[in-house]
Amino acid sequence: MTAFLQNCFAGLALGSTYALVALGFVVIYKSTGVINFAQGGLLALGAYLGYTFSNNLAIAFAVAIVLACVSAAVVGAAFERIVLRRMVGQPPFAVIMITIGLLFVLEPLITSIWGFDNKQVDNPWNIQTVGVGGLVLGVRDLWTIGLTAAVVIGFFAFFRYTSLGLAMRATAFDPEAALAQGISARRVYAVSWAIAAALAALAGITLAAGPGGLQPSISFIALAAFPAMILGGLDSPGGAVAGGLIIGLAEALTRGYQDQLFSWAGDNVSVIVPYLVMIVILLIRPYGLAGTKDVRRI
């Protein structure tokens, strides 16, 4: 039982990171109809900014996290303002290609500033643990779960109770109707990019605070979060969070019971499990767990 709970905890921590990344994907998709392939690049940028604030500028780690998220948000909003605003009304495919281009720009930009060396972020978590019953819980993992929970609650409160959140929901639901009500779609798009970038930065810096440290390949985690977004439903923030947690748990539990239950299927079943789960769920629910069914008049 202890081993099961230990694996569940690992899955929740991993799933929380996936959830943050997937939520960023969904925020942009919901408001603009575009899948942002640069989410991994923004995650890496946020993590390196956090490193700079914490290590180079010797700012307290908690403040460094906030500054990294704010800085990434500014970068995200600026990118929308400078580049993507010119693409309003253009085919989504063109905008998607621009986000792919951004990803390929961010990677060399990051390495030209910070290099390729592994960086160790100064932080109070590292490999610290606390014991609960027979479980050993990583402090970094606990903070990742806690921060994700807080951010998700804040995110839903923002959407539900603020005028800007209402404007974003209205724009996502019907951009033209929202515009007719005086809602600035441009402002909504910029805020969406800022939120997505901040979420990515938070995911990045919590990852970088672990024992693996920080290196440019940290952006690959966004690929693993992709199935979480798809199975949750492209336009559902709640689905993204649920998808992230499901994928994280499925991956960790498969890995934990590889020897006992899955050895017949090869050595690394956990790597393909997220995609298998995604395929199965899409076969049952083509729009994901909580995605909106596309209704067309024929």
């Binding site: 390495t111 643990t129 985690i221 539990l253 934990g256």
Partner: protein
């Protein structure tokens, strides 16, 4: 990018020849053709005065952390060769470097881009890139030095490997564990390897050791590179009661694996394959755990060890030609690679032929090349008769040391490692 080697060669062709001879390394000490031929004629990559060598390395991307110091090692060696007059005291060496991004398809493109302008490749970094370029090396009759310790290369005549292969590292590590590390054949000996050809090399060594020393491998965990969470694997190793775990990984994964083990308070005796380690680990939060539980099996000696002549020379040359270079054993690997290639070039000049055929013939005619304690001596020659070094050095993690490594046992060879046979693989 073209890197021009500068050298004031005038002082002495003679001095260079003496230096090379004294080092006992850059020239082989044996070979089938010791006679002098005429000056080599112009050929692709050689204009009569300058020899151009290719360097295919990731200078961008996640593996640049290995490619950059390794290439710096190449450069420093050839800087000192040029400063001493060049190959055979008269031919300067120039490096043509291209970025492979550690992508096999890019490596093939870059190979094709410069193959017509170089006599050979003094660095081709990574097992995947080497496998991708190898068919063309064969058809083009080009020689390349792989920056990889895979045992696959030993029997490939178009490749010029240096160092003891990964399999030898594992066997020597097991030997140490059983004889001096407190283990026995009834101990629970386990493996954790990445699921690719590099991990497979580690497993081959461990399987051979298991057969030789008559123990069974209690548990094997495989993982995909850039995995984010290793709780499952560590739980499985702990559940199997592993007392020794051999790890074949690269540094970022190794850091996460050891970090997860530290969090789980799972502390077997770890032995890490040489590429598992990088100096940053000694400064990380995992360092106390590494000091307690981890030994790294590699070659050579700790950085700055003046008792080893090769290290003394290398540090002096690094100080002279690359003063900004931090201690790094990938640097030493690149330095050794360049040294082996220099031995081939010396032989080719001696035979009066720097063409591709001439370079391959020189490679086959090489005898044993020594590395003055930075790596074991390599017995070259026809691919089917080559004998790579069988020695390893064990290091403990020590943050007070340059590169964070302290020598525990220097340059030892187990009987089992001597018995390991390298076979030609169908590739």
């Amino acid at each position: 990018m073209l890197v021009r080697r500068r050298g004031k060669g005038v002082v002495a062709a003679v001095a260079a020849a003496l230096l090379v001879a004294a080092c006992g390394g850059a020239g082989g000490d044996g070979g089938s053709d010791s006679g002098q031929a005429g000056a080599p004629g112009k050929t692709a990559g050689f204009d009569g005065t300058t020899i151009r060598l290719g360097v295919l390395t990731p200078s961008t991307g996640s593996v640049a952390v290995i490619g950059l110091p390794l290439t710096a090692g190449n450069k420093v060696w050839f800087d000192q060769v040029n400063a001493s007059g060049g190959i055979a005291g008269k031919y300067r060496v120039e490096l043509a470097q291209e970025d492979t991004q550690y992508k096999p398809d890019v490596a093939v493109q870059q190979y094709n881009k410069i193959k017509g302008n170089v006599v050979a490749f003094t660095q081709l970094l990574g097992t995947p890139s080497t496998l991708a370029v190898l068919p063309q090396l064969r058809s083009d009759k080009v020689l390349a030095a792989p920056a990889s310790l895979d045992g696959l290369w030993v029997r490939e005549e178009n490749l010029l490997p240096v160092g003891a292969p990964y399999q030898v590292q594992v066997i020597n590590a097991v030997d140490h564990y059983l004889k001096e590390g407190g283990g026995s054949t009834s101990s629970k000996i386990c493996a954790m390897v990445q699921d690719d050809v590099y991990g497979e090399a580690g497993l081959q060594g461990l399987n051979f050791a298991a057969e030789r020393y008559k123990f069974s491998i209690a548990n094997t965990q495989k993982f995909k590179i850039n995995t984010e969470n290793y709780t499952g694997q560590i739980g499985a190793l702990a559940g199997a009661g592993c007392q020794m775990v051999f790890l074949t990984a690269t540094p970022s994964d190794a850091a996460k694996i050891w970090g997860t083990a530290a969090q789980a308070r799972f502390a077997p005796r770890w032995y890490g394959q040489s590429p598992s380690y990088t100096g940053a680990l000694a400064k990380s939060a995992v360092a106390p755990y590494l000091q307690q539980a981890v030994l790294i099996v590699s070659e050579g000696t700790e950085w700055g060890d003046a008792s080893v002549s090769g290290m003394r020379d290398m540090v002096a040359r690094a100080t002279q030609f690359a003063p900004q270079q931090p201690p790094d054993y990938y640097f030493a690997f690149g330095y050794n690679q360049a040294r082996a290639m220099t031995a081939v070039l010396e032989k080719a000049v001696q035979q009066g032929n720097l063409s591709r055929d001439g370079i391959l013939a020189a490679s086959k005619a090489l005898g044993t090349v020594g590395f003055d304690g930075l790596a074991g001596d390599y017995q070259y020659g026809a691919a089917e008769t080559r004998n790579p070094p069988r020695s390893s050095t064990l290091f403990a993690v020590d943050p007070a040391k340059p590169f964070g490594l302290r020598t525990v046992k220097y340059n030892f060879t187990s009987d089992a490692a001597k018995a390991y046979e390298f076979k030609k693989s169908e590739m």
